[in-house]
């Protein structure tokens, strides 16, 4: 496969994991680093996380998500990281070929010496938690609602019930209340809060949003649009307790019931996933089971603090760069032996320059057509002759051996390819 573009390190996803990886890869010395982002701009999920709480560890500042992303975007730009936005990755192979499409660039094949997977998570859906009732409009996962409110500029409803006391749910409770909506209830199936305690204070308590632990949604009511949510208490086995049902009038249900690492592309590349985390198995370099494919951030496992995502991104990016540099060195380590005029094939096909540095190397080849007179067997670069020997004849039925002497190492060292040809003397 002939790629349209070649890069040393390709980072898929420009959330905090991907951005950190791209920056670290450049700093480690990778030459060409590319970020591929499906959205219109860089930043990933940080673009819509407009609340504070980012960067307390890394920058010792309390930043909102977009400002946190901005730091890395600016650094990436100044380091010369390239990016393709509004571009979707369709496929990743274990040999690190990436197929991408976009409106602007069409269908492109990218070859990468190493890859950092930074696709983040998707949100758990109502079907995955077996939610009963009708299928009206007005049911959103919290992240989708957040996108509408903070980026697109629309309120998806006026009266909300939120299922799940994870951070996204609580943060949206606060956000929606600030925008003039009423959050009727936050229901949490567990007997404990599943998000950060501080968020309970500054999102629910501060804004008078009622929280009910050990409660869940029994079913959704309303044919075209949500009209009400029937809630129920649950027992210690998380099973509904009959008789505890309550009908809560609402026009919108927000689901904050978990994040799932988004590893569809990883699977395509042959990356093996841990069924417990739903993310790739990784070592301390954040390398997956596929050499040269690394992963960082929520795609590996779900984080609660973005600063640790950045740390993981740094590690993955640095090691991806190291891998790419080593791959590059491996390539330049070899000189390709190319059949020239009247040469059918040569064995070996490529020569490790280190071997030539140690001692002379003997090639074997066959000609295509016989020449029953003296011939020069020549080893040439693009511009000049490196070495040759005289042969009395050249016949297809007889293998010709040709020694490349150690003394020409210094000339061979600079080359990518060496052509062997037959010329009449």
């Amino acid at each position: 496969m002939v790629p349209d573009r070649k890069y040393d390190v390709v980072v898929i996803g420009s959330g905090p994991g991907g951005l950190a990886a791209a920056v670290a890869a450049k700093k480690e010395g990778a030459d060409k680093v590319l970020i591929i982002e499906r959205d219109l701009e860089l930043g990933g999920i940080l673009v819509q996380c407009i609340h504070n709480g980012f960067g307390l560890e890394i920058f010792k500042e309390d930043l909102p998500g977009p400002a946190y992303a901005q730091r890395f975007i600016e650094e990436a730009n100044s380091l010369g990281v390239e990016s393709l936005t509004d571009t979707m990755v369709l496929d990743v192979t274990s040999t690190r070929f990436i197929s991408v499409i976009s409106k602007q660039s069409g269908y492109i094949e990218v070859e990468a010496k190493s890859i950092v997977l930074g696709m983040g998570c998707r949100e758990r859906t109502r079907s995955q938690i077996g939610m009963l009732g009708t299928r009206p409009s007005g049911i959103y996962t919290a992240g989708t609602a957040q996108r509408f409110v903070n980026v697109e500029g629309f309120m998806p409803g006026n009266r909300f019930v939120i299922l799940g006391s994870g951070d996204i749910g609580m943060i949206m409770a606060r956000r929606l209340t600030l925008e003039g909506a009423k959050v009727e209830r936050v229901l949490e199936i567990m007997p404990f809060l599943t998000g950060l305690t501080r968020n309970y204070v500054q999102c629910l308590q501060d804004y008078d949003v009622p929280l009910q632990l050990s409660h869940t949604v029994k079913r959704v009511l309303g044919n075209r649009r949500v009209e009400a949510i029937e809630s129920t208490q649950v027992d210690e086995n998380l099973k509904p307790i009959h008789g505890t049902e309550e009908i809560i009038s609402a026009d919108t249900l927000l689901l904050s019931v978990g994040l799932i690492p988004e590893n569809e592309l990883s699977k395509k590349a042959g990356v093996v996933l841990d069924p417990v985390t739903n993310g790739p198995f990784v070592d301390e370099k954040y390398q997956t089971n596929i050499p040269g494919i690394f992963a960082a951030g929520n795609v590996v496992h779900v984080y609660d603090i973005v600063d640790w995502v950045t740390q993981a991104g740094y590690i993955a990016g640095k090691n991806a760069a190291k891998f790419a540099i080593e791959e590059k060195n491996k390539e330049t380590r070899y000189v390709k032996l190319t059949p020239g005029e009247n040469v059918r094939y040569i064995v070996p096909h490529k020569l490790d320059k280190e071997s030539l540095a140690q001692s002379s190397q003997t090639l074997q080849f066959r000609v295509i057509k016989p020449v029953e007179e003296k011939v020069w067997v020549e080893a040439r670069s693009a511009d000049h002759l490196i070495h040759r020997k005289l042969a009395l004849y050249a016949r297809p039925s007889e293998i010709i051996t040709f020694e490349i002497p150690q003394k020409v190492y210094s000339e061979i060292e600079k080359l990518d390819a060496l052509t062997i040809t037959i010329v009449k003397a």
Binding site: R38, D86, M88, L90, S99, I101, S102, K103, Q104, S105, G106, Y107, R122, E123, T125, R126, S127, Q128, G130, L132, G133, T134, R135, P136, S137, G138, Y140, T141, G143, T144, R147, F148, V149, E152, G153, F154, M155, P156, G157, N158, E179, R219, V220, N223, R224, R225, D251, E264
Partner: protein, 497 residues
């Protein structure tokens, strides 16, 4: 008599109404197809098992059986002309344990009486060979090779589009209210969009066909009972079932299937529960539990981890006795010109096997019109072929490249999980039957049915629809009026720019 008159008005653009419109469009007739919802295919056709039944199951001698077997034969041509995804994989009726084998024999006999070709009795070993996931206790199966699966949404949309291509007028969000009568003759209908006059009216109103016919005083004893069937849809990445697997049937229902679909997902269901509300498509605890138990009987290895969606459909179950008094059957199809009223082609109770029967039903309507003296003149330039529109994810890499080169909007993926592009969405919005709601686009492109269930694509689809329809995003709906996605702009922002 007003000059603005149609020859035929068809009430209801489900699979039956759309197929009738398409078949009638072959003739020199002015035809109007009306549909109360914002899209075609929103009644029973929106949620069913999508099976092209072989026809061994309906009671022999009934109109149901006749329409099923006749219709089945027509599907190769139909699918070819309209470019409907259709696969004749054959139906398996699977007997678990030796006790169930005799029922297969009864079905065999029914099939023979109904004229079903290509039936084969298979041993338990043979079933295990063809479907490795089958319950190892399988004792045998009836394999009806003419059975198959189709995409009901594609079929409905394609039939309606082909009708439009051939001159049929379609009016969505147009609801029948009453007949306009001249004595015992129907001369037109009243709708929420005004009065329309016609020589013939076809009642293809599905769940509401009883209400419609009663307005003309036809069959006051006929009643549609909505019979709910719930379903699970399974993630195709988790499990692949290659076949259509039925259990041995009960008198009321064909039973809970585990079946392949043309989209690659496996579907489990349906159960059968009579309800009152013709709009109640909620999934229930008891219903889903029944589906699950039934499905496990056929494929014991299923686990809830495979579930990607749950939904419910409503059968338009009627109570009409079979025309032949010798056949004791009380839920047969009604396809008639009533005796007491002129100008009406009356259909009722078209429940399963409605999808497979639809082309035969349409042909029967033609026959009824001819019987009543209609001189149907064929159009010289009737175009039977409705061209297919590309599904990006089904194309080869080379085809995808060319598609994007010719139209860059195919280079923008809107639904990540199902690989649906902006180009496909635009094609559906600007198609002969325009897709103007989220669900309309979902039915046609399969967007939003994957792992994230619309989490990623919804904001993008809303934006595209608003832009293409030239309206505010606040007006974009999931399934028509009163199902808007968004309530207001935050801070009254100007989105017009």
């Amino acid at each position: 008599m007003p000059e603005d008159k149609y020859d035929v008005i068809i009430i209801g653009a489900g699979i039956v109404g759309s197929m009738i419109a398409r078949t009638l469009s072959r003739y020199e007739l002015d035809i109007l197809l009306i549909e109360k919802e914002a899209d075609v295919c929103m009644g029973t056709t929106a949620a069913n098992t999508a099976i092209i039944h072989a026809g061994y199951d309906p009671a022999p001698g009934t109109l149901k059986a006749e329409m099923n077997v006749k219709g089945n034969r027509m599907w190769d041509t139909l699918a070819g002309e309209l470019n409907i995804p259709f696969e004749r994989r054959g139906d398996f009726v699977v007997a678990i344990g030796k006790e169930e084998l005799p029922v297969l024999g009864k079905l065999w006999d029914g099939g023979v009486k109904n004229g079903v070709p290509g039936m084969v009795m298979l041993s338990g070993d043979e079933v295990r060979r063809r479907e490795p996931n089958i319950n190892p206790k399988v004792s045998g199966a009836l394999w009806a090779s003419t059975g198959g699966i189709a995409d009901p949404f594609a079929a409905n949309v394609a039939a309606a589009e082909n009708a439009v291509m051939n001159g049929v007028e379609v009016m969505l969000e147009t609801a029948f209210q009453d007949f306009i009568m001249d004595g015992t003759k129907i001369v037109g209908i009243k709708t929420n969009k005004g009065d329309f006059y016609s020589r013939w009216v076809v009642n293809a109103a599905g769940l509401y066909s009883d209400d419609v016919m009663h307005k003309a005083g036809v069959r006051p004893e006929f009643k549609i009972t909505p019979r709910k069937g719930e379903y699970y849809a399974l993630d195709r990445a988790e499990i692949v079932i290659n076949n259509v697997l039925f259990p041995v049937p009960t008198p009321v229902t064909k039973g809970i299937l585990v079946t392949a679909t043309t989209h690659g997902n496996t579907v489990l269901g349906p159960n059968a529960q009579n309800i009152q509300d013709k709009e109640d498509r909620s999934v229930t605890e008891a219903g889903l539990a029944e589906i699950w138990d039934g499905a496990l009987k056929l494929v014991p290895k299923l686990t809830l981890k495979y579930v990607i969606a749950m939904f419910a459909g409503l059968r338009a179950a009627g109570n009409a006795p079979c025309e032949n008094p010798a056949i004791k059957y009380n839920a047969d199809y009604v396809i008639e010109v009533p005796k007491n009223v002129q100008g009406l082609i009356n259909l009722g109770g078209i429940e399963s096997p409605g999808l497979v029967s639809s082309p035969a039903i349409a042909q029967r309507v033609i026959d009824l019109l001819k019987d009543r003296g209609e001189n149907l003149k064929e159009k010289k330039n009737w175009e039977p072929i409705r061209p297919a529109r590309p599904h990006f994810c089904d194309l080869s890499k080379e085809e995808q490249k060319i598609l994007i080169q010719n139209d860059p909007s195919y280079g923008r993926i809107v639904c990540r999980c199902e690989t649906v592009t902006e180009g496909e969405i635009l094609a559906e919005i600007h198609a002969p039957i325009p897709a103007r709601t989220y669900d309309a686009i979902k039915r046609r492109t399969w967007l939003g049915t994957g792992r994230c269930q619309g989490g990623f694509d919804t904001p993008r689809v809303v934006e595209i629809l608003a832009r293409e329809l030239g309206v505010s995003p606040l007006e974009i709906t999931k399934k028509g009026k009163k199902s808007e996605f968004l309530f207001r702009a935050t801070k009254e922002v100007d989105h017009g720019s």
